[in-house]
C-alpha cells in the first residue's frame, strides 16, 4: 500500500491527506454512503439478534404446547406408549420410582429442561357407576434436585394452556383436593367446592372422598379425567413412591442430518459424531441422557411436538437469515453504485494519479481506505440502530424483551466493512478501465 519499505511519515501523511481531503470535499456523498451501510447493517443486526434471541424465546413459547419427551418404565414400553399407561408383562402395570425424577436435572442438558411432571394413572369408580381415570401429579411443586438447586415445576408449567375454573390444588398441603375435567364435571354435575367419591380397585379401604377445587378445561382427553395430588393418590392406592410416567418439556434444536442418522441407528455414529450429537440439544440426545440418568426408564420424544417445534423454529430462523441476507445484498449493491459513481466523478483525479505513475491497485487503496472508514462508521451506527429495531420487533411481534447478543457487535462491523469492500469491486473495475490518455489529454 505505502510503496514498499520506504514508507515514512511523509508518505503516510500524503496518503491520509488525500483520503481526508477527499472525504471532506465530498462529505454529502459520504454521508449517503454511510447511511446506506447503516441501514443494511441495522437490518442485518436486527435480524441476527432477533434470530439468535427469539430462537430461544420461540422455543420456550412452543414449550407451552406441552411436553416433548415422555418417560415411561422400560418394560414393554411399546404397549405403554399406545395405552398411555405403564403396562408391564402380561398387562400388569409397571412403575418408575418418583425419587428418581429429580435426577432429570443432573443431565448434560439439564438447563434445557424447562418443566416436567410425573403422573400416576389409576382407574376409579365414580358415584354414577362409571369408570373415571384419576391422575396423580404435581401441580406446582418445589423440590431440591441432586445438584442442590431448587426447582419449581409441575403440570401447571407443562400444560400451561389448561384453564381452571376455581383453584389449583396445593401440592404441599396434603389435602384431598382435585381438579376435575369439564366432561366429568358435567357428567357428575360437579362444581368447585363439591365433594367427589372415588372407589379404587384395591383391597381394604378403597373408598375416598376428594373436594373439587376447580374444573379444568384442556380441550383434550384431560377433560375426561380427574387430577389429584400425587402423594395423596399414591397413598390411596398404596403405590407409595411410584409413578406411571413422566412428561418432560425441553428446549431443543432442530434436527439435522446427524440427528436423523442418530435417530435411525445411534450405533451407526462414529465416536466423533456421537460426541457432537451427545453435546447438542437434539431431542433424541436429551432423551438418551434422561435414560442414562434414570435407571429402568425409557425416554422417547413425542414426535409430533418435537418435530413441529423443529420445523417452526427452522423456518423462523431461515426467514430471518434470508431477510438479513437481502439487507446485506441490497446494501452492497447500493454502496457499489454510490462508489462506482464517485469513482467516475473523480475520473480526472484517478486518471492523473495513473498518469503520475500510480498502479491501479494504489489508486484502489485510496478508495478502500475511504470505504473502510465508511464501513466502520456505518457499522457503529448500524449496530445501534439494529439493536433498537431488534428490541422493537422483539417487543411488538414476540412480546418479549430482547437479550442483546454481544456476538452481533463484531458481526455488525464485519458486515458493514464487508458490504463496503464488496461495493468497492465496481470501483476497482472503473479504475482498471480508465485510460489516463482519454481523460487528461484526449485522443
Amino acid at each position: 500500500m505505502l510503496r514498499g519499505s520506504l514508507a515514512n511519515e511523509g508518505v503516510l501523511l500524503v496518503f491520509l491527506r488525500m483520503v481526508r481531503r477527499s472525504i471532506v470535499k465530498g462529505w454529502h456523498k459520504k454521508v449517503l454512503a454511510v447511511m446506506t451501510v447503516t441501514i443494511g447493517t441495522a437490518l442485518a443486526v436486527a435480524m441476527l439478534n432477533v434470530s439468535l434471541d427469539i430462537g430461544d424465546k420461540v422455543d420456550r413459547e412452543l414449550k407451552d404446547y406441552g411436553a416433548n419427551i415422555l418417560v415411561i418404565p422400560n418394560v414393554e414400553a411399546i404397549a405403554s406408549e399406545i395405552e398411555g399407561v405403564g403396562l408391564g408383562a402380561r398387562g400388569i402395570p409397571s412403575y418408575l420410582p418418583d425419587g428418581e425424577v429429580p435426577k432429570l436435572k443432573t443431565i448434560f442438558w439439564s438447563n434445557n429442561i424447562v418443566a416436567f411432571a410425573p403422573f400416576l394413572d389409576v382407574q376409579a369408580s365414580a358415584p354414577s357407576g362409571g369408570q373415571v381415570p384419576v391422575i396423580g401429579t404435581w401441580f406446582r411443586k418445589t423440590l431440591v434436585v441432586p445438584t442442590g438447586e431448587t426447582v419449581t415445576t409441575g403440570v401447571r408449567d407443562i400444560k400451561s394452556w389448561w384453564q381452571v375454573d376455581g383453584a389449583w390444588p396445593d401440592d404441599e398441603s396434603g389435602d384431598a383436593l382435585a381438579i376435575v375435567g369439564q366432561a366429568v364435571a358435567r357428567q357428575l354435575s360437579l362444581k368447585p367446592g363439591d365433594s367427589l367419591n372415588l372407589a379404587f380397585p384395591i383391597e381394604g379401604s378403597h373408598n375416598h372422598t376428594v373436594k373439587v377445587s376447580g374444573i379444568v378445561s384442556a380441550g383434550g382427553e384431560e377433560d375426561k379425567q380427574v387430577f389429584v395430588p400425587l402423594p395423596w393418590l399414591q397413598e390411596a392406592v398404596e403405590l407409595q413412591g411410584q409413578i406411571s410416567r413422566l412428561e418432560v418439556s425441553a428446549l431443543t434444536i432442530p434436527k439435522n442430518e446427524l440427528a436423523r442418522k442418530a435417530e435411525n441407528d445411534p450405533e451407526s455414529l462414529t465416536p466423533e459424531e456421537f460426541e457432537v450429537w451427545y453435546c447438542s440439544a437434539y431431542v433424541d440426545a436429551i432423551a438418551y441422557q434422561i435414560e442414562e440418568a434414570i435407571p429402568g426408564a425409557r425416554a422417547r420424544p413425542i414426535r409430533q411436538i418435537a418435530e413441529s417445534e423443529g420445523i417452526i423454529l427452522g423456518r423462523v430462523q431461515l426467514l430471518m437469515a434470508l431477510l438479513a441476507l437481502a439487507a446485506v445484498v441490497s446494501s452492497a449493491l447500493g454502496i457499489s453504485n454510490l462508489m462506482g459513481a464517485a469513482a467516475l466523478e473523480r475520473s480526472k483525479e484517478v486518471g492523473l494519479l495513473k498518469a503520475l505513475g500510480a498502479y491501479d491497485s494504489s489508486v484502489t487503496w485510496l478508495f478502500l481506505a475511504e470505504a473502510v472508514l465508511i464501513g466502520l462508521i456505518g457499522g457503529a451506527m448500524g449496530f445501534a440502530l439494529g439493536l433498537g429495531l431488534a428490541m422493537f420487533v422483539s417487543e411488538n411481534v414476540f412480546r418479549t424483551t430482547l437479550e442483546v447478543k454481544i456476538v452481533t457487535a463484531p458481526a455488525a462491523f464485519a458486515i458493514a466493512v464487508g458490504v463496503t469492500v464488496l461495493g468497492l469491486l465496481s470501483v476497482a473495475r472503473v479504475i482498471a478501465r480508465l485510460e489516463p490518455a482519454r481523460i487528461l489529454v484526449g485522443r
Binding site: 510503496r3 520506504l6 515514512n8 511523509g10 508518505v11 501523511l13 500524503v14 496518503f15 491527506r17 488525500m18 481531503r21 477527499s22 471532506v24 470535499k25 480526472k348 483525479e349 486518471g351 492523473l352 494519479l353 495513473k354 498518469a355 503520475l356 505513475g357 500510480a358 498502479y359 494504489s362 485510460e435 489516463p436 490518455a437 487528461l440 489529454v441 484526449g442 485522443r443
Partner: protein, 222 residues
Amino acid sequence: MLLEIKEVSKIYGNVWALKDVTLGVGPGEWLSIMGPSGSGKTTLLNIIGCLDKPSRGSVILDGADLSSLNSKQLTEVRRDKIGLVFQQFHLIPHLTAVENIMVAQYYHSMSDKRQALGALARVGLADRADHFPSQLSGGEQQRVCVARALINYPRLILADEPTGNLDEANEELILGLFRELHAEGHTLVVVTHDPDIGRLSDRQVSLEHGFIRCVQARSGEV
C-alpha cells in the same frame, strides 16, 4: 538519442492517426511538435508519454523499447522517466499546491515536503504552497504543474499545449520557465499551436494527417 521513434503508426478502426512517423530526440534537446487539429500530434505525445501504444513501429526511450512493454511496465517508465505538463493543469482540487507535488513524489518513491517546497520556489511560488488550485491563477496552476513534472528528475519533459489556457503575461512566465529548463539541459518535447514556442525550440516537427510534413531546425535548416 534519448528518444527514438521508428516508423510508428497508430490506427483507430480504419483511421490512421499516425503513419510511419520516424523521429529522434537527443538529450537536452527541445523539440516542438506542431500541426493543425487532427494532425496526430496528441496521439504522438500519448505514445511518447506511455499513455498509449503504437499500432506499428517502435519507440525507444532511454534504451527501453516501449512497444514491447505491458501496461504496468509503461506505468513504471512514465513514473520514473517522464514529467507531464498538461494544458488543463490537472491539479487535484482538494490538495494544496505543495501537496499536489508531494502526490507525484508519493507515487515515485517518498514524499519530501522540503523538496516539494523547493520545487515550488523554483517556479516562483514559494509563498503559494498552501493554496488550493481554486485560489491560484491559471499561470500559477501551470507553474505548479511544471514543478510537479520536475520533482522526480525525469529524463524527458512532455508538455501538451502548456500555454494554451494562459493569458499573455502568464504565457511569458511559462515560456521563461521552459527556456530555463532547456538551458539547464532538460529534454523537452512540447506539443503546441504557438509559433513563439516553436521558434524557441531546437527543432519543430510539423505533422499533417498523421505524416511528418517537415522538420525545421532553429537555424532555419529544413
